[in-house]
């Protein structure tokens, strides 16, 4: 990212220099050679490579609710977002994706293409009613109903939104008192290895404690932290990092 920005600055500087140089040449030419027929006009300078940014706010929504995509581009002649088609150079639009979606923006002009992405994570809420045990194994039933808890950066506080998710999880667990499970704490790749292990444990324990308040016995629960050792998503961007900051429920056989 940083490298790209620097490249961009360079090209901008270069363009300023070229334009200044052109202006000087033209001015000198105009003064010294008034009688000579003017040279054919230089081709218009190509515009600089486009820049682009795309954000989603909020970037995590319950199913059926809307999030606002906001994008901004410079120098682009053609801007498209995969899911929306051709769009204005800058703007915003409300979207209601049915499932977690990565929005992909492409800004183009003659001298290049710039891409930007933003991910909206859709959390199923309320969860579908538990299915009959006959329709799948306990493990499938568990993973189909237990929703993970996601966290802010460097935080192990469970937000109001995920308190609700945990309430639904607790209802499912109360209906299936025989199930034991593990809560895995995960972190994104940015923190340091050992600190992330500790942070992951705090996340797993935060989820465990809330479930305990909702009546789920600690005897059914094991916790383990994987820090940043077992990421769900391995790209270096916020939408991916967000996927990795979680307390993940795993059925215990």
């Amino acid at each position: 990212m940083k490298v790209k920005e620097e490249k961009l600055k360079l090209t901008r500087n270069q363009w300023i220099r070229i334009i200044v140089a052109l202006a000087v040449v033209l001015a000198v030419g105009a003064c010294g050679k008034k009688k000579v027929a003017s040279a054919p006009p230089p081709p218009p300078p190509p515009s600089p490579a486009p820049t682009a940014s795309l954000t989603a706010n909020p970037n995590t929504i319950p199913a059926g609710q809307a999030s606002t995509l906001t994008w901004r581009t410079d120098y682009a002649t053609d801007v498209t977002i995969d899911q929306l088609g051709k769009v204005d150079p800058s703007g915003s639009q409300a979207v209601t994706p049915a499932e977690s979606t990565t929005y992909h923006l492409v800004a183009k002009n003659d001298s290049g293409t710039q891409e930007a992405t933003a991910r909206i994570t859709v959390v199923s809420s309320p969860p579908p009613p538990p299915q009959q045990t006959s329709s799948g194994t306990d493990e499938q039933l568990f993973s189909g109903n237990m929703k993970d808890v996601f966290f802010d950066y460097d935080s192990y506080d469970v937000s109001a939104q995920y308190q609700q998710v945990l309430q639904a999880d607790a209802r499912f667990l109360q209906q299936h008192p025989g199930m034991k499970f593990t809560i895995e704490g995960h972190c994104d790749e940015r923190g340091s290895t050992e600190y992330n292990l500790a942070l992951g444990d705090n996340r797993a324990n935060a989820a465990k404690q809330i479930l305990a308040q909702l009546g789920i016995s600690g005897d059914r629960v094991r916790t383990i932290s994987y820090g940043k050792e077992k990421p769900f998503c391995t790209e270096s961007n916020e939408s991916c990092w967000q996927q990795n900051r979680r307390a993940h429920f795993v059925y215990q056989k």
Binding site: T193, E194, Y195, N202
Partner: protein
């Protein structure tokens, strides 16, 4: 931005000056008038050799030169300045040729190798070129079975003798080891290598995840943390037996072990209470004693190896992780860093400094780099050793306090590097796979 290097270098000079007054062996590399010993080391003369063993001579010469150069206390005289005929024995030395320009050396290390009947014999001398009456500072003889490992071993030993004599009586580190984590076998396992990156060797074969190796002060065991059926546990690898040995298991997740320098106690982080806290336990096992009590994460303890009366660690009680110190019974908590994201402390052997990784300017719009810093514990003055080349983390001091080993992503994948404690003379030690969390042996 332009003012920044100036301020930094002024700060650095301040700290460097305090270092110099406290310990004359710290080299600052900032031209404070502390002259390094000008040392000439001509290749040792190969007297006789068995067929097929010529390479031992080259291994010896390269290793000896590398050890002396890495030591950080010598100004190594370039070989292009040497007289055409180099001595292999005392009677062949013409001190004048070495003490006067162009070599202008104040010390001369020379000697010879003989490889005969499967044995490697090395004679080495250290001469003071400015003392013609009695030039010999050191004279040593070594004899080992002729193989690559012994050519390196003899070079290390002779280098350490020279460093001990000329480096203020502080033992060199040429025979020390580094322990680290590598994923080159497919999973994260504990590995060992020589201090210069040679002889890399896999120790554990867990097949899950092994992290945070810390070798015992006597060099017989490596404590590390690994994922077991009971979650993360502190595990032990016996270097004498060449296999993992049992160590007490605790409830919850347990990781980041650290040895006190007397080998009696291990501090570590455990989540057994629900929060991660620092505990200490006898290195022979027993009941663990809780040292911290806070809601936030507490991890990565390191002992003050001079006194074993203090522990520094990383706490998240105020938000982003910061370095704290406390007495080894958990009292007298002091916050050391005042901003940013500070992790992975390592306490210097003399007890004076903490090395750690710090993203000093942290937050939106200031995506700082993680760099290695050294802080004087008493005054809280700090110096930055790495400068925004990739992400740098997990510094660990050499036993002589002259070097720091650390991990860095400066070439893309994270690898292990060593440097002098002033940030100069950076050397890459690993290349295969990803290599992290280096730990320097106590001796």
């Amino acid at each position: 931005m332009k003012k920044y290097p100036v301020i930094l270098s002024m700060l650095f000079l301040l700290i460097a000056a305090s270092l110099v007054s406290a310990q004359d062996w710290i080299r600052t590399g900032t031209g404070l008038g502390v002259e390094k010993v000008r040392l000439a080391v001509p290749d040792f003369k190969l007297v006789t050799t068995d067929t097929g063993t010529q390479n031992l001579s080259a291994i010896f010469n390269v290793t000896l030169w590398n050890d002396l150069q890495t030591a950080g206390i010598f100004d190594m005289v370039s070989k292009s300045f040497y007289p055409l005929s180099v001595p292999g024995a005392p009677q062949e030395v013409h001190l004048n040729d070495w003490s006067s320009p162009p070599p202008n050396a104040s010390m001369l290390a020379f000697g010879n190798l003989a490889i005969q009947g499967g044995s490697l014999n090395v004679q080495g001398w250290l001469y003071d070129t400015k003392n013609p009456q009695s030039p010999q500072v050191l004279g040593k003889q070594y004899r080992e079975p002729a193989n690559d490992a012994n050519a390196r071993l003899i070079a290390h030993r002779f280098a350490d003798e020279i460093i001990l004599r000329l480096g203020g009586g502080i033992a060199g580190v040429a025979e020390t080891k580094l322990y680290f984590v590598s994923n080159r076998s497919g999973s994260k396992e504990i590995w060992q290598m020589d201090y210069d990156g040679a002889n890399q060797k896999q120790l554990t074969h867990m097949g899950s995840i092994a992290l945070s190796p810390h070798v015992s002060p006597d060099g017989t065991r490596v404590a590390y943390s690994g994922v077991t059926k009971e979650g993360w546990q502190i595990l032990m690898y016996s270097l004498e037996l060449g296999r993992a040995v049992s160590f007490q298991h605790f409830g919850g997740d347990n990781y980041s072990p650290a040895w006190s320098s007397d080998g009696q106690t291990i501090a570590f982080s455990s989540s057994r209470s629900g929060n991660t806290e620092i505990y200490s336990v006898s290195s022979t096992g027993g009941s663990a004693r809780r040292l911290t009590e806070s809601k936030g994460p507490d991890v990565s303890p390191t002992w003050n190896p001079k006194t074993n009366a203090q522990i520094a660690w990383v706490g998240g009680r105020s938000g982003l992780p910061q370095i704290y110190t406390m007495a080894s019974d958990g009292t007298n908590v002091v916050r050391v860093t005042d901003q940013g994201y500070a992790v992975s402390p390592s306490w210097s052997p003399n007890g004076q400094f903490l090395a750690f990784a710090w993203i000093r300017h942290y937050g939106p719009g200031a995506p700082g780099a993680s760099d290695i810093y050294v802080m004087d514990v008493a005054s809280k003055q700090w110096a930055q050793l790495t400068h925004e080349e990739g992400r740098n983390d997990f510094p660990s001091w050499s036993p002589d306090g002259r070097h720091i080993v650390f991990q860095s992503s400066r070439t893309g994948r994270v690898q292990i590097y060593s440097m002098l404690a002033d940030g100069s003379e950076v050397r890459q030690l690993t290349t295969a796979g990803e290599n992290t969390q280096p730990n320097w042996s106590f001796k």
